[in-house]
């Protein structure tokens, strides 16, 4: 914030007061430039042309213009791009890592079963992939998480910001407003003490939207001019084929953005498959790029302490005469995410399966998508499935599993709280209460959910 203010002031500065050689300054003023703000957004070649200075001098000018910004960027990681240049991490013992990890909050999903299975929600600092066929709720879960990460700290949330990279064009504000409205309403019902009351004054749909930073890949004009000229059958090859380049470009620049926004706790890419599945004739190139991208994501997640959530499409694989639904982008991509979550339909039920996670047992839980967002499946209202199939048995077992792990989770929270207690007496205590209560909260939300649905005209399920 302060850095921004000083940047603004600097923009009002006169060129004559800059640390530039007098010759350059006089040329700039002769060309009609008086304030630094007039130089912003110009490319060096234009400054060269307009003021008649050399390219090198033009670069110096631009560096002077952006002095404030670069000084701020310089403080963290030498202004370098990519996690690789952030510098070596200090070596830590496993105990330190454990304490660090336990002090980190997770992003809860408002589906208590899923949160319990994941040990409190999606972990910050890790990469989570959500796979699923179209219409299973990948985008819904992403939007839900994007709102949930902003829940104020006193409500057990993270009070963070979020960057959403939308490659499919499925980020619809209408839907985000629905979900945000439901979360705000839910929090308003939970208010107990003054701190929460104060937090609620600023926690509104508007603030939620202003804390979601949106990157839209593949929209806007620019490419409109790129009509194909040659008359081969493949249509306008340059139109969307460079989407992935845009995504790569964005990922190069995101570390800088994240260091400017230290409150960002979540980065969503919905979906990573979309740009990479079009126009890739050469699969080895794709694999290489995806591997690089995975490395960037992991580096960003750890260095900026951000939860990465990426969605992936499903594809059909033929193996031994049998077709099978598997996540897209190939085998090697499967190593990139820490946690892989598979969303699927089974008859009329929606099931979420954890099928890769180093820290949690594989489990299947039920969920539903209501007009308010991603929620627990309502057991009571669930119609009995017509033919009992294997997966329903599995899911029952999964629920039992998840309950156990929830208990385990609470234990570990308490022990973590015990450690923290010694450091920060009161605050730590409240934290641990909240994280334990987080599960209760989301149960309540499910109950509240049922309530509001009855009052509203029937239950609407979104897909």
């Amino acid at each position: 914030m302060l850095g921004n203010a000083s940047g603004e002031e600097q923009m009002k500065m006169q060129i004559s007061s800059c640390s530039l050689s007098p010759a350059v300054k006089s040329r700039l003023t002769a060309a009609g430039f008086h304030f630094l703000s007039e130089l912003r957004g110009l490319s060096p070649s234009h400054i060269c042309a307009e003021a008649g200075v050399s390219q090198q001098e033009a670069l110096q000018v631009l560096q002077a213009v952006r002095g404030g910004a670069s000084r701020r960027g310089g403080a963290s990681g030498g202004g370098g791009v990519g996690g690789a240049s952030v510098g070596p991490f200090p070596s830590l013992t496993a105990l330190q890592l454990l304490q660090e990890e336990q002090s980190q909050r997770s992003i809860f999903s408002f589906c208590s079963q899923l949160d319990a299975t994941l040990g409190g929600g999606l972990p910050v600092g890790k990469t989570t992939e959500i796979c699923g066929a179209p219409g299973t709720g990948k985008t819904q879960l992403c939007l839900q998480l994007a709102v949930d990460v902003q829940v104020p700290v006193c409500f057990g949330g993270l009070g963070g910001q979020v960057v959403v990279v939308d490659t499919e064009g499925s980020f619809l504000l209408q839907r985000v407003q629905d979900i945000a409205g439901a979360v705000v309403k839910h929090c308003a019902l939970l208010v107990e003490d003054d701190e929460q009351r104060v937090a609620m004054t600023t926690f509104s749909v508007e603030t939620i939207l202003s804390n979601i930073f949106l990157v839209m890949i593949g929209t806007e004009a620019m490419m409109s001019l790129g009509f194909s000229r040659d008359s081969d059958l493949s249509i306008s090859p340059q139109v969307r084929c460079h989407d992935y380049v845009e995504l790569l470009a964005e990922l190069h620049l995101l570390p800088d953005f994240l260091s400017e926004h230290p409150r960002a706790r979540l980065l969503v890419i919905d979906s990573v498959a979309f740009p990479f599945r079009l126009h890739f004739d050469e699969l080895s190139q794709r694999t290489r790029l995806l591997n690089g991208l995975a490395q960037q994501l992991i580096a960003m997640a750890t260095s900026h302490n951000v939860a990465m959530v990426i969605t992936n499409q499903m594809t059909t694989r033929l193996r031994g005469g049998q077709s099978q639904l598997v996540p897209a982008l190939g085998e090697s991509w499967g190593h990139a995410p820490t946690i892989r979550l598979l969303l699927q339909w089974a008859g009329t039920q929606r099931l979420a399966t954890i099928f890769k996670s180093p820290g949690h047992p594989g489990a299947t839980v039920q969920y539903q998508i209501t007009s308010d967002g991603f929620r627990d499946a309502d057991q009571s209202e669930q119609p009995p499935s017509k033919r009992p199939r294997t997966h329903t048995v599995q899911s029952a077992a999964g629920q039992r599993d998840s309950n156990q792990s929830a208990v385990g989770q609470r234990d570990s929270n308490q022990s973590a709280a015990g450690q923290r207690d010694s450091n920060q007496s009161a605050a730590g205590q409240r934290d641990s209460n909240q994280s334990a209560a987080g599960q209760r909260d989301s149960n309540q939300s499910a109950a509240g959910q049922r309530h509001s649905n009855q009052s509203a005209a029937g239950q609407r399920e979104c897909s």
Binding site: A31, S43, P44, A49, E50, G52, L62, G80, V81, A84, A133, P134, G135, Q140, L143, G169, S170, F171, L172, R175, V176, D178, L209, N211, F213, L214, V215, M216, E220, A221, M222, M223, S224, L225, G226, F227, L233, I235, Q238, V239, R240, H242, V245, E246, L248, A249, L253, F257, R277, L278, H279, R288, Q313, M314, L325, T348, S371, R460, C462, S463
Partner: protein
Amino acid sequence: MGCWFPSKTVGGGNAPLTLVSTRHYIVKRRRRRPGVFESGLCKIVPDRSKTNEPTYKHTGIYLRVESRDVLIMDWDQLELHPRIISAVRRCALSVRTVLCVSAPDLQRLSGLSRSDTQQLLTAAATACRRHAPLPALLSRGLQSSLRLSVGCPILDELLRGGLPVEGVTELSGESGAGKTQLALQVCLSVQYPTQYGGLNAGAVFISTEDSFPVRRLQQLIRGQSCLRSDVPPWLISSLNFSDRVYIEHAADLASLQECVSRRVPLLLARGLVRLVVVDSVAALFRSDFLASDWLERNRQLLTFSAALHHLSREYSTPVLCINQVTDVFSSSDSLGSSSSTGTLTVTPALGLAWANQVMVRLMMWRLQGTVSRGDQSSAPRRLQVVFAPHLARGGRGAGVWREGVRGLIETA
């Protein structure tokens, strides 16, 4: 914001362009004194000359924008040390390929130091991105929350206002379910001004199956005053509906691709059209390929859907694709599309490859029985939302009447 095009791409003088929006450009023109530019807002105006290339008009000078060169950005435009620029020129890399090469490879290729490579990558990435991350609150203005009404308040309510303006909407169903009827109706409703749910432009109807049902369209046009009682009659009579429905026939895949990549963009760029209907996508993709050619089919399908996506997002134009259905033999229904209506065991055709490309999937069913309205009777239909990022799963009954498709008021 925006991007400077290299001056060489623009004919008629050294005039770089800055993009402001889909339809506006800022043109900077060099004046007689070197280094001084004259700028002006340039609007895309149809060039009435005989050429087929998109041409842009600006205060009397015609700027022709060449296709390929636009994307090859010039290194000179980037904020880089001349040393870095010359090094990267030497190894003949374009701005976009630099981003696809890993940093160590780039270092090796260009012989630059590590920090120089990082600078190079940052500069290239900045040139390729359109804008820095924007708060969603701000993008509320950018992203149009506009919806295209389907012409019936009951169905619009199901769709929360109508079809999303950006994105591919699929409407599938068995033959005789009323898909084409609804599509024709949308072709007319798009022509109304925005306060009546339209987009104030025409529609292009790409027909791949049958000949275009001209008679039915005429009948629907005559029925508009009956269907749209919310619109003042003088407005309906002032609209020249049939002149603004452009019909394209595509009998094979090649002509379909040609149509989507050439003729439709021209119509869109001229602002004549703001709705693309494809009736149907399935027909050609299902007939032109043998079962063993599925890999090639998927490739073609992706190319086609990429083009539709591009059109939709580029010109913020709704794209409505009509799809056929296919029977499901196995009971495992991964897409969950046929579950809710019980007896129905069909799912939209073209499989997962296509389903991944669709933003909103609607299905239409023809049900047993009859419903009547006044002196007319119709088989009841049902319009169902299968998935959409912003819609609840649910459906509405509907009937096809002389004046068009209308939702039925739900009883109990």
